[in-house]
Symmetry: C2
Subunit: 187 residues, 2 copies
C-alpha cells in the first residue's frame, strides 16, 4: 500500500470524476482506467465516498495553488490582484478540458447540507471567500466582507455562465463589474 500509489489513484479518479461526474462514474470504470484491481482500490479507499473526498481534497489543493500563484504573477497590489483574479479565471475557462467548478458540481450532486462531500465543497468556497475578503481588506475597502463576497459572487457566476453560455465572455464582464465595485468601495 505505497502512499504514492494511492496518490496516483486519486489523481486519476479526479480526472474521471471531473469529466464524467460522480454518480455517473462507477467504481468499475475507475478500476479499468487506473489499471488496478477492484480489491486494491478498496484497500486504499474504504468506500466510493472516501475516494471522492480524497479527489476533492486534491482538487482544492491544485486549484487554490494554481489560482493564488497565477494572480500573484499577474498583479502586485491587492487591488490589482482582485481584478487580475478574473484574468486568471478567463485563462482557466479557455483551457481545453474546462468543465466548470468541481465543487459546484459536487454540491449539486450531493445536496444534503450535512453530507461530507457537500461540506467539503462548501469549505473550498469559504477558503476563496476569505482570500477575496483579505485582498479587499488589504486594498483598503470600506467594507471588506461585503466586497469580498461580491467578488466571490462574480467569480461563481462567471464559472456557471462560462459552462452554460459559450456565446458571452463572462470573465471580461465580471472583471469590468469588479472594477466598478472596487472603485466604489475605495472612494
Amino acid at each position: 500500500m505505497r502512499p504514492n500509489k494511492r496518490d496516483e489513484l486519486v489523481r486519476k479518479a479526479l480526472q474521471v470524476f471531473y469529466k464524467s461526474g460522480f454518480h455517473a462514474t462507477g467504481m468499475d470504470k475507475l478500476v479499468v482506467e487506473t489499471g488496478v484491481s477492484k480489491t486494491s482500490m478498496y484497500k486504499h479507499f474504504r468506500t466510493k465516498e472516501e475516494l471522492i473526498l480524497a479527489a476533492l481534497r486534491l482538487r482544492d489543493e491544485n486549484f487554490r495553488n494554481w489560482f493564488l500563484r497565477r494572480v500573484q504573477e499577474l498583479a502586485d497590489t491587492p487591488a490589482e490582484q482582485l481584478l487580475a483574479s478574473f484574468d486568471a479565471l478567463g485563462e482557466w475557462f479557455n483551457e481545453d478540458g474546462f468543465r466548470g467548478c468541481m465543487f459546484i458540481k459536487a454540491g449539486a450532486e450531493f445536496q444534503e447540507k450535512e453530507h461530507p462531500i457537500h461540506v467539503q465543497a462548501a469549505e473550498h468556497k469559504r477558503a476563496l471567500l476569505e482570500y477575496f475578503t483579505d485582498l479587499a481588506r488589504k486594498a483598503g475597502a470600506r467594507n471588506p466582507e461585503a466586497l469580498g463576497c461580491q467578488i466571490l459572487l462574480l467569480k461563481e457566476g462567471a464559472i456557471v455562465t462560462a459552462v452554460l453560455l459559450k456565446s458571452c465572455d463572462p470573465a471580461r464582464d465580471a472583471k469590468a463589474a469588479a472594477r466598478v465595485l472596487l472603485d466604489a468601495a475605495l472612494a
Copy 2:
C-alpha cells in the same frame, strides 16, 4: 394516455429530480412515487432522458413565470426591477425546499455541450440573460448587453453561494453590487 395524467407525472418527477438529482433518481423510484406502473410510465415517456427534458421544460415555465411576476409586483420601473430581482431571489433562497438552480444542476450532471439536457439548461439561462439585458436597455444603461450579463453573473453567483455558504447573505450583497453597477451604467 390522458394528457393531464402526463402532466401529473412530469410535475411529480420534477419534484423528485429537484430534490434528489438526475442520475441518483431511478425510474423505479419515480414509479413508486407516482403510483403508476412502469409500463405506463414508459408509454408516456420513451426514455428517462425524455422525462428529464419534460421536467426541465416545466421548471423553466414555472420559474420564469414566478420570477417575472414577482419582480413586477416588487417594482415599477426597469431600473428598480433590476434591483428587485435580487429581493425575489432572496425570497426564493429562504423557501423551505430551496435546493439551488435546477438548470445549473442539470448542466453539471450532463456536461457534454451537445447533450439535449445541457442545451435545454443553457436555453433557460439565455432567456434570463435576455430578460436582464432588456431591463437594462429600458433603464437606459450605456451598454445594456454588458450590464445584463453582469446582473446575470450576480444572480448565478448568488444562487451557487446560497447553496454552499449558508452563513453569508448573497441576495443582499448581490443587490448592493447591482445598485453600484446600475448607477455606474446610468451616470
